[in-house]
């Protein structure tokens, strides 16, 4: 027999779908099937069931031999390397709940850590641009109910956020958008042909890295001013036409991704994109939204925001909060040998950081807290497996539009396994003792 858990939240991408259904065995121990999720979402649930899953902390010696240790020993090692370090880096925080992020931040306060999240290699540039020019935005339900113009810029939701288009952007029928897709015009700006661009009314195949110019050209076109014959590889006629399409909508939105945040010009691209959106609000109603990747990277920025006022690159090492991207960002610190211990939770820098940074982690006292074996766990001295947030424990997560949703626990974690929050609380208690705080 099986029972069905409904309204399950998918702890994978920033789309944070909350309509999944998961069938589990009657004893609540095993997941049988996952409904409504996309393939990558379902995989996340099923992965937790892997029979070869690591269930106890392990340490590796210099020759790379692993040996199991107890959670108590893991707490001790973690607390000690953080307490002993002059400037520990506590990185990740994007695939865990807000409660863990809040406890982790207290550890950071006591040990004088640098706290950084995956925005540092993703939408950190967006956060900087928002500090420069602000951001007019909305919740995803507004898009469902009102939007008749959708722009995807430098992102490919068909692959990275698979259910975004059906739940929120292209297809859904909302209150003022009863015809669904037919009531919307879709513009895709991407140098590549993608599964998203195939759906577009306009696909502007911009020359790689020339986003800033095209954003600016739109601002010129809105005002009806003169453009050169082509900008960023797009003929001016098309630019005028798309500009007109955007202006003539009743409610529009620009979704953008890593294609613009991490290409040449970085935060300046986003600055320009937000300015385009501001301009459009003189003609109709427009919003802009970053397609945040990890399911709760947004939440970590909020938690740090309310506790310390900065959404990433948070430096607590001087005893109070500082923020200076480029100086207090993970890769810059690692490359400059400025940190002397590394703590990773809820992310995989081993896979996503430049090789040079990963090598630095390998050379330092280090701990990786992650349910999976990952490239990061492979280079850290200690690997602490924990329960899957959103599968084996609940907690709050923030969707890409900052809407907080409570994740659901659908099955029990393996016997004796700690959650992120439980592990962090033990570490907090211990670092307080070690620091005499």
């Amino acid at each position: 027999m099986a029972k069905l858990v409904t309204d399950v939240v998918c702890p994978f991408c920033g789309t944070l779908c909350d309509d999944l259904e998961v069938s589990v065995t009657d004893d609540g121990k095993k997941i049988l099937d996952v409904y409504n999720a996309c393939a990558i979402g379902a995989e996340k649930f099923l992965h937790s069931q892997a029979s070869d899953r690591i269930t106890r902390p392990r340490m590796q010696d210099e020759d790379g031999n692993w040996k199991d240790v107890s959670y108590d020993e893991a707490v001790e090692y973690t607390a000690k390397i953080l307490a002993d370090a002059k400037k520990p880096l506590m990185y990740g925080w994007s695939s865990t709940n807000c409660e863990s992020q809040a406890v982790g931040t207290q550890i950071g306060e006591v040990t004088g850590a640098i706290m950084d999240n995956t925005a540092t290699v993703c939408h950190g540039t967006t956060l900087i641009a928002v500090q420069d020019v602000g951001i007019p935005s909305c919740t995803l339900g507004e898009v469902v109910n009102r939007a008749d113009r959708i722009v995807f810029w430098g992102c490919n939701p068909a692959h990275a956020h698979p259910r975004h288009m059906s739940r929120y952007s292209i297809y859904p029928r909302g209150f003022f958008t009863g015809k669904g897709q037919k009531s919307r015009k879709l513009v895709v700006i991407d140098p590549r042909c993608t599964d998203t661009s195939k759906l577009a009314d306009y696909h502007l195949q911009i020359e790689q890295g020339r986003d800033y110019e095209l954003f600016d050209a739109f601002r010129v076109a809105f005002k009806g001013e003169k453009l050169p014959d082509t900008v960023a590889g797009i003929p001016k006629k098309t630019i005028y036409e798309v500009a007109e399409t955007m202006k003539s909508g009743r409610f529009g939105i620009i979704f953008f991704g890593m294609g613009v945040t991490q290409s040449l010009s970085k935060n300046h691209n986003i600055d320009a994109a937000i300015s385009v959106t501001r301009d459009l609000n003189d003609y109709s109603k427009w919003s802009i939204m970053p397609m945040r990747g990890h399911y709760n990277v947004t939440g970590s920025g909020e938690v740090w925001g309310w506790l310390h006022g900065f959404p990433f690159a948070l430096d607590l090492s001087r005893g109070f909060a500082r923020y200076n991207p480029g100086d207090t960002t993970s890769n810059d610190l690692l490359r400059r040998d400025e940190v002397d211990a590394v703590f990773v939770l809820g992310s995989d820098p081993g896979a996503h950081f430049p090789f040079g940074s990963v090598k630095k982690i390998w050379g330092l006292p280090s701990v990786c807290i992650d349910p999976h074996i990952t490239p990061t766990s492979a280079v850290c001295k200690l690997h602490v497996p924990v329960a899957f947030v959103g599968v084996e424990t609940g907690g709050c997560a923030y969707r890409m539009d900052n809407v907080p949703i409570e994740c659901r626990k659908v099955v029990e974690p393996p016997e004796g396994m700690l959650t992120d929050e439980e592990f962090l609380k033990k570490v907090l208690t211990r670092v307080k003792e070690l620091k005499g705080a």
């Binding site: 409660e99 602000g134 909302g174 309310w306 109070f320 909060a321 900052n402 809407v403 907080p404 409570e406």
Partner: protein
Amino acid sequence: MAEYLIRNGFVYDPVLGIDGDKKDIAVKDGKIVETTALSKPTEINAAGMTVMAAGVDVHAHVAGPKVCVGRNFRPEDKLFNSTPQAGIKRMEGGFSVPTTLRTGYNYARMGYGFVMEAAMPPLFARHVHEEIRDTPIIDEAALPVFGNNWFVLEYLKNKEIENTAAYIAWLLRVTKGFGIKNVNPGGTEAWGWGMNCETVNDVVPYFEITPAEIIRGLIEANEYLGLPHCMHVHGNSLGEPGNYTVTLDTLKQAEGYTAKNDFGRDTVLHHTHLQFHSYGGTSYSSKGFESKSKEVMDYVNKQDNITFDLGVVTLDETTTMTADGPFEHHLSHMNHLKWANVDVELETAAGVVPFIYNPKSYIAGAQWAVGIELGLYAKDMMKTYITTDHPNAGPFTRYPRVIKWLMSRAAREHMLEKELKYGDSIRNTCYIGEIDRELTLFEIAQMTRAGPAKVLGLSHMFGSLRPGCEGDVAIYPYNPEAIDPSRDPELIERAFSTAQYLIKGGEMVVKEGDIVSNGSKRTFWVDCTTSENPQVQRDISEKFKRYYSVTEANYEVSGHHYVPNPYVIEVDASQ
């Protein structure tokens, strides 16, 4: 729990009619008690100091999504003002949008014990509660916004008060909210299309209802339920020259209604930050602008069912934030600073824009004058509350400065003569120069504790030192026998900025000016029972299925981690 005996202070308690008499105040088991009830109290020598119940803030934006937007998009707000961890006190940062930690500590330093978060977007209720949870010491509650909510617009269009009320009761329960906030009624929904409602008679696009109908309908629903607080409105056309007529129209909607509740509240409409709504003229220049505080107060003083708060401009660099989305957009076009906006499906919107109230500009000085004038023209100080609409007109940490301006004509003259560049134009276009009145400490106690506690329906707990009230006592280094407000106005500001002691819930949290405890803060919310209403239940399910981006089951705020220490006020509206 510890016992405290606060000896020989000058006590101000408008509820008990105590006006500066030397009295002893006793606290035991978290409550105020008779002095005879103590056995082995810790004595606090309050001789030469002022003793009041802890302050109660009726309206501030201190927790939730728009506050956090303000923090995160203004790193400059934290420049050179962060402070390290010390003792039990955690790190602090921020000026106009302080971190939650600093928010709690700063209220405690000013002797405040309760703060109402003035605008909670229901879909973001979890966020509001997480921030409230992480704000130490002070008790807090939050008002969900209703004035642009689709359920409310639809029910009220059909004059369905009972359904509106049932929906409100449901929403308060699922969001753990406290009462009814009504921001730019109808205008914020219009903002979904980039439009606005500028008068109480402008029709909301598609929903075909007017702000006047929304205001009246929400008053009726509020009294139908008998909620502790009254309908709390931020009227249309905030900040617009000439808007005082809209304000009068807004206030007039309360005519004919009387309060029905079991909480001792006798008013039905609270108008917030009235300063922003009391403007005459046609522009912001000294030639086009005038104060209409007197005209507005002439009306307010004649009503007995209205309260308001001031929203005094403090002439700081600050961060404006409001559910009045179209206003923030408008503002960003005036000052060309960064603009953030969030439209929230089916419910509301919010905007955030930094703002510099420059004392060298005419208009900032005139706005300052309007706010102070409202306080000085008011007749019933139990219905007039000190706020800065934190952080919109200025940070809450300036309340002591506002108190100084209200208590000292000399302090106001100093502003007009020395601090403001356009003092003369301000005298000409505003009333401030003509007013001699200086408020008393008794009146300040009415405006900052007894009055707000009453309108929030919390006078049985806060705002007084009557035995049985919460053990919330503030002791200020202010000797009313030695200080002359006309000669030493600065001493007023200093005293109210730095409580010597704050006892909160019977526990000492500020001792000799230092934070010594993180307290045991509570989140207040209202659990209102109504009779079964299958239609509203159906409407809710329908809207979630079709128009919300989250499921109905995932909407409710539940779980210890959001509201770890609740104080639930139960209201039975099922009869």
